[in-house]
């Protein structure tokens, strides 16, 4: 009996990532914690190299490993975002780890392993692959949340994230087993065919139940209301660079997975899931905006901000059209840049006694550190969606997709929510520009931080002149998903 080796080429980036992470682990184990800087830089380089390999692949859809793993334009777009966010997160963390004296070489390796999990999530074309990717990513994230194991806050964040993450994984598995039980397959392509045949009398109740549970499990991972309870506590308790990582890459990966799950296997059941997504979108947009108003801690505020932004991205999915997916992709790309920039600023809020995360500490920043204040103001205004900054275009594409699909109420509610949300973003700008200064922060020692800050600010300001490349890539990615 001969067996044919599966086509390994589509999974080449994942394999390089896995082997690279293990090689870095060996390097770290032999050289000890003093090699953290070296391992971090190598991990970032590894991610960027893998990103180039991913981006260089063909846009055509290739499935391998018995149709469990798929690569197409959509996965390429999402993987590039995930890898970019992870590489930036590694670079942003290094100065923090040095300053707080928690330099451990496992940190970049955990990020690399989490990234590997996210890549598997993005490429998942089977309920089992989906679960494997989610677990690989989540396990690394739980440990990272508790990375400062000597502080009660960080340990609490890790434990809370672990317990609620395990609960959500359980719900996801329950849903997956229902889907498998009622259709007899876990493969997305076969599922789509099986459910397509049900058009006449509608899918069975069991499949709908399974779909609801799978969607709820994934909604936990993107922290959409009403599955968001863990987000503020985990974001506040986790070390700040870990929060910066949490806010971007895992959300991009989980949204990619949610989109594929809803559109590919359950595409014919759009009527069943659209109402769930619409509810989650509206609830997330409003709760993210309203609850953030009373926050005094900037990490908590960013947690609610991320909940709100997930709501806006879900509007694109709720539209259920290629234009909606395209808008969601553009939104996530812009969200990545805005959030990375904002978190670089938050990571620079350092005084003699350590990192501070109270919003009032920013008072009068425009007079003490005008450059950082200007950058943070740009990020905040962009997060609020004020034209002509990039954040406005993200919201614009999402809402116009909703209107084209006929969801006028959804679009109007979204605009209302973003008006409420603008209040707390503008409050930060007001505190920085019009309040009495409370003293300067320590100057940035790492040039990489100011470089990231500057690059993201420039992207956000200049996006208005050159939106076409991102728009076209997102368009072809959305087309690739629905093929």
């Amino acid at each position: 009996m001969t067996t044919v080796l599966p086509n390994l080429v589509p999974a080449l980036p994942e394999m390089i990532m896995a082997v690279g992470a293990m090689a870095l682990l060996m390097l770290g184990v032999f050289r000890g914690n003093k090699s953290t800087g070296q391992v971090s830089w190598l991990a970032a380089v590894l991610m960027l190299v893998v990103m180039v390999i991913v981006a260089g692949a063909e846009n055509d859809k290739i499935a391998t490993f018995g149709d469990m793993f798929v690569v197409d334009g959509f996965t390429i777009f999402m993987k590039v975002l995930v890898l970019l966010a992870s590489a930036l997160a590694v670079l942003m963390s290094l100065p923090y780890l040095r300053a707080e004296n928690i330099e451990r070489f496992e940190y970049p390796i955990l990020i690399a392993l989490a990234t590997l999990g996210m890549m598997v999530m993005v490429s998942a074309n089977d309920l089992m692959t989906m679960y494997m990717g989610i677990e690989m990513q989540s396990l690394a994230l739980y440990v990272m949340a508790a990375f400062r194991r000597d502080t009660a806050q960080s340990t609490e964040a890790g434990l809370k994230y672990f317990v609620l993450g395990a609960l959500s994984s359980g719900m996801l598995l329950y849903g997956a087993s229902l889907v498998y039980g009622f259709t007899g397959t876990t493969n997305f392509t076969v599922l789509a065919n099986v459910l397509h045949g049900h058009e006449g009398h509608g899918p069975s109740l069991g499949v709908i139940f399974g779909l609801v549970f799978v969607a709820a499990g994934l909604a936990f991972k993107i922290s959409a209301v009403p599955f968001h309870m863990w987000t503020p506590d985990v974001y506040e308790g986790a070390p700040t660079p870990v929060t910066a990582f949490f806010a971007v890459a895992p959300k991009v990966a989980a949204l990619a997975l949610l989109t594929r799950t809803l559109f590919v296997p359950f595409g014919d059941m759009a009527g069943s899931w659209q109402q769930i997504v619409i509810f989650m979108a509206i609830a997330s947009m409003f709760w993210g905006s309203i609850a953030a108003v009373i926050q005094t801690n900037i990490k908590r505020l960013m947690a609610f901000s991320s909940i709100g932004h997930v709501g806006f991205a879900l509007v694109g999915i709720a539209a259920g059209s290629p234009a909606g997916i395209k808008a969601m992709l553009i939104y996530m790309a812009i969200y990545l840049v805005m959030n990375v920039g904002a978190f670089v600023c938050i990571l620079s809020m350092r005084r003699e006694q350590g990192l501070v995360d109270d919003i009032d500490e920013l008072a009068g920043l425009s007079r003490t550190q005008p450059a950082m204040a200007a950058a943070l103001a740009i990020f905040m205004l962009s997060l609020a969606g004020i034209p002509p900054l990039a954040g406005f275009f993200g919201k614009f594409y999402v809402f116009s997709a909703a209107i084209d699909a006929g969801y006028y109420t959804l679009a109007i509610l979204g605009v209302l929510a973003s008006v409420i949300g603008a209040y707390y973003y503008l409050r930060i700008v007001k505190i920085m520009y019009f309040d009495e200064p409370v003293g300067a922060f320590e100057p940035l020692k790492a040039p990489v931080m100011s470089m990231i800050m500057m690059a993201s600010a420039i992207f956000i300001v200049l996006f208005v002149f050159l939106p076409a490349p991102l728009r076209n890539t997102a368009e072809s990615a959305a087309q690739a998903l629905l093929h």
């Binding site: 896995a18 293990m22 682990l25 692959t129 690989m136 007899g184 397959t185 076969v190």
Partner: protein
């Protein structure tokens, strides 16, 4: 003929030893009866043509789990008579749970029989026993069809291992560790000293 004879022999011994596990007074005897039950279940698996499962049952359950039970029973001083005090009191509850399990099993089996169209969509049907041994079939599934998931599971375990070490490992000061290169580098003159003791003077 001989097959059904074997089946009734194995089944009867399994049920009897299962009963003896909960009935015998001596906990060591309970564990020994458990091992007997495992062996006979393995025999039943062989009759079904599931030889891989039979071997795994003997190796894993008898070889590891049951021996572990035996260790626990013999090492720990547990008063089993006291543990069994409320046995009759919980009997109705236990019987009820058993009944529910039986009903559920029957429902699963009934659904199978009553809705044959479900089998039409099964992605990977059970291979015919006559065509392939199940060791090969399992290997085919795990290491060929699902090799990607197998490797992913390996990475998940690696992540979990790194996580456990990150969260619990700490360098304790003042603990003596073996340093082989230091031991090898030791020279004679730093290890001992010759003292010339004059007679009648002491050290």
């Amino acid at each position: 003929m001989i097959e059904s004879l074997c089946f009734y022999l194995f089944a009867a011994i399994t049920v009897l030893s299962g009963f003896m596990v909960i009935a015998s007074r001596n906990p060591v005897h309970s564990v020994l009866f458990l091992i007997l039950a495992f062996f006979n279940s393995a025999g039943l698996f062989v009759l079904l043509g599931a030889e891989f499962l039979a071997m795994i049952l003997v190796i894993v359950y008898v070889g590891a789990v049951a021996v572990l039970f035996l260790f626990v029973v013999m090492m720990l001083d547990i008063d089993f008579v006291e543990l069994r005090q409320g046995f009759l009191q919980y009997l109705p509850m236990g019987a009820l749970i058993g009944l529910i399990l039986v009903v559920e099993l029957m429902m699963v089996f009934g659904g199978w029989v009553l809705a044959p169209e479900m089998t039409a969509v099964v992605a990977s049907a059970t291979p015919d026993i006559a065509e392939t041994e199940n060791t090969r079939a399992l290997g085919q599934l795990i290491y060929t069809d699902y090799v990607f998931l197998f490797q992913c599971a390996g990475m998940v375990l690696l992540t979990a291992m790194i996580g456990a070490i990150v969260l619990t490992h700490r360098q304790r000061p003042g603990v003596k560790r073996q340093n082989i290169s230091k031991q090898v580098r030791r020279r004679r003159d730093e290890a001992y000293e010759l003292v010339d003791i004059k007679p009648g003077q002491g050290v």
